[in-house]
Symmetry: C2
Subunit: 351 residues, 2 copies
């Protein structure tokens, strides 16, 4: 056992409820459609009903939270963009110009940006939560990304962020130049998958740059070869935005909120949250399969099938918000579709 005694995980209830599940399934099956014909919307309605402990789904004050941080490993030249872009993109989000702003406005999500560890001071802004653990992680190639105390602090800070949010739906996204690197490292170490299968082009590396990134990450993983326990893996290989997002997912699950999970980085945070508390997964709606290499393997680790596969690789939470109307559709068909009885429609021919 490593020293993680100071980490206080919130209690999370499993959503399993055979009686409610049977009632929900019966309600779904009695809708005027062939059994199962609404496919993923049906399984989604079932999951949402179990989360909300109700046959009548209701979404209230949906929240989008973007965690931003920098990464020491950026100094190794593993990203196609300079580190300054993290800060610039936070500014862009606070000014309303990033993709996540557009989709948050489209779908009525309140947007907060959390400075989890940007390598610069940020001016106060009504949509900015200053929760900086440190101005970027240390370079993973040279030592742990953060101390165990910082990892715990970041997890707790993520929990606290969610505690203060209204509503019963939260979507999480991130911004952090080079953060596909810690995400790939977390995935490789927590899953045992070969690094070569999970390292991708991030924001757009060419072949030579990708080979360089793989060499750097191979070195980083070897540097921390002995680390296996989830919290220690986070400290050694993670990032502040990933840690905080994991904490936020754990807290959201403990409050029975619906959690919208975006792409590769958010997936790594989900993997970590589930490593710490497997039942967290009951509350996670996997929204998008990223084009980033390794994300499909990450999803397979979690036995998760995302709602969308739009060949995107932007992060920010964009994949989560684009899937949101499907949750509303699941809620609406459950509430509004006629049943075979009520509509006077014949069922399947008996065979």
């Amino acid at each position: 056992m490593t020293d993680n005694t100071s980490l206080l995980l919130p209690p999370i209830e499993p959503t399993a409820d055979p009686v409610l599940a049977a009632r929900l399934q019966q309600r779904i099956d009695n809708k005027t459609k062939p059994p199962g014909a609404l496919g993923r919307l049906e399984t989604l309605a079932l999951q949402l009903g179990l989360i909300q402990r109700s046959e009548a789904l209701a979404f209230d004050a949906p929240q989008m939270v973007v965690f931003a941080a920098d990464h020491g490993i950026a100094a190794e030249g593993v990203s196609a963009f300079p580190q300054a872009v993290t800060l610039q993109m936070v500014g862009n989000m606070l000014a309303g110009g990033a993709a996540i702003n557009v989709f948050a406005r489209q779908h009525g999500f309140a947007l907060q940006v959390v400075d989890a560890g940007v390598a610069a001071d940020l001016a106060a802004h009504p949509q900015l939560l200053q929760r900086k653990i440190a101005p970027g992680t240390a370079n993973i190639c040279e030592g742990p990304a953060m101390s165990m105390a910082q990892a715990v602090q970041a997890l707790h800070a993520g929990m606290a962020v969610v505690k203060d949010l209204p509503g019963n739906v939260v979507a999480f996204g991130e911004m952090g130049i080079a953060n596909t690197s810690p995400a790939a490292l977390l995935l490789a170490r927590l899953s045992g998958l070969p690094l070569a299968d999970v390292v991708g082009r991030g924001t757009g590396l060419d072949d030579v740059q990708l080979a360089h990134k793989q060499a750097v990450l191979t070195r980083a993983l070897a540097r921390h070869a002995e680390v296996q326990e989830p919290l220690a893996v986070l400290a050694a290989l993670g990032g502040f935005e990933i840690a905080m997002m994991s904490g936020a997912m754990l807290q959201a699950a403990s409050e029975r909120r619906v959690v919208l999970v975006d792409g590769f980085i958010a997936g790594a945070a989900a993997l970590l949250a589930c490593a710490l508390q497997p039942v967290t997964k009951d509350y996670l709606v996997f929204c998008h399969r990223s084009a980033e290499r390794g994300h499909h393997l990450l999803l397979a680790q979690l036995q998760a099938t995302p709602l969308l596969d739009l060949d995107m690789r932007l992060g920010e939470g964009t994949g989560a918000l684009l899937a949101w109307p499907l949750l509303q559709s699941a809620s609406l068909f459950l509430a509004e579709m006629a049943s075979f009885d009520s509509a006077g429609v014949s069922g399947k021919t008996e065979t």
Copy 2:
């Protein structure tokens, strides 16, 4: 040449415009995101911009049209549901209780149901267009589904339906017990694909019923072995709702409307429309990959990748409407996202 001289196809312009395409691509690439990071939303924005001949997308009065008809081949026991369900589901749609009603309300689509050939008389209703060609097609196993004159009449009727609709976006769906059978036959004949690869379970056939359906359709296809020309194929093997939907797609394309294409049946109508006028495809947005066997092959024939893959097999146009928010997202990111210049964000590191 078969006698199709009486078919009047509307003129359809290709959307190709290299100058506009370059302007659109530059606009997309200058948004604050890595190049290509919005994946399918970017190619969608490009297609929509070319359809609308503008860098500023604008959607007006979106329309959902459901074509309903019956099929003589239902008498062969190729569907899991009795034929009466076509009429009952039309009633359900006019009462607002079907899945398509729920999603049309969710997304602000006006809904019309067209009686293309239901095997019963329908009472007048403000949302019902009475365009019945005949009370169901003839049994394909015994002769052509319809006469050549009826095929032309149905195509023209579909064109006329669209002519009278407001707005610049149309989504098409269908209702017709047994209509995966004509759709599979059209696909097999127009593509040359083996029937065994394109016949599926429809609304939920078991293994024995599926084998029966395959035997019936093999017989039907052999009965019309000599028919090859698209209009003659439609008359021999098609359905009134499929024919009318094809005509509607042709007309919508000729008016430069955005056309939302649903699943397997709508896909067969699109395949036929493109066989009659290949340039139609420029205007088609393929929205959903149906779980119905053969749909992925149909999409491959059209070199189309749908936006959604939700394991649904309901038809009605449901897959089209569930994808609609993605078109709005494409429009909004193009309009509202900041550019690298405007946001003061650094671009990719030069290599």
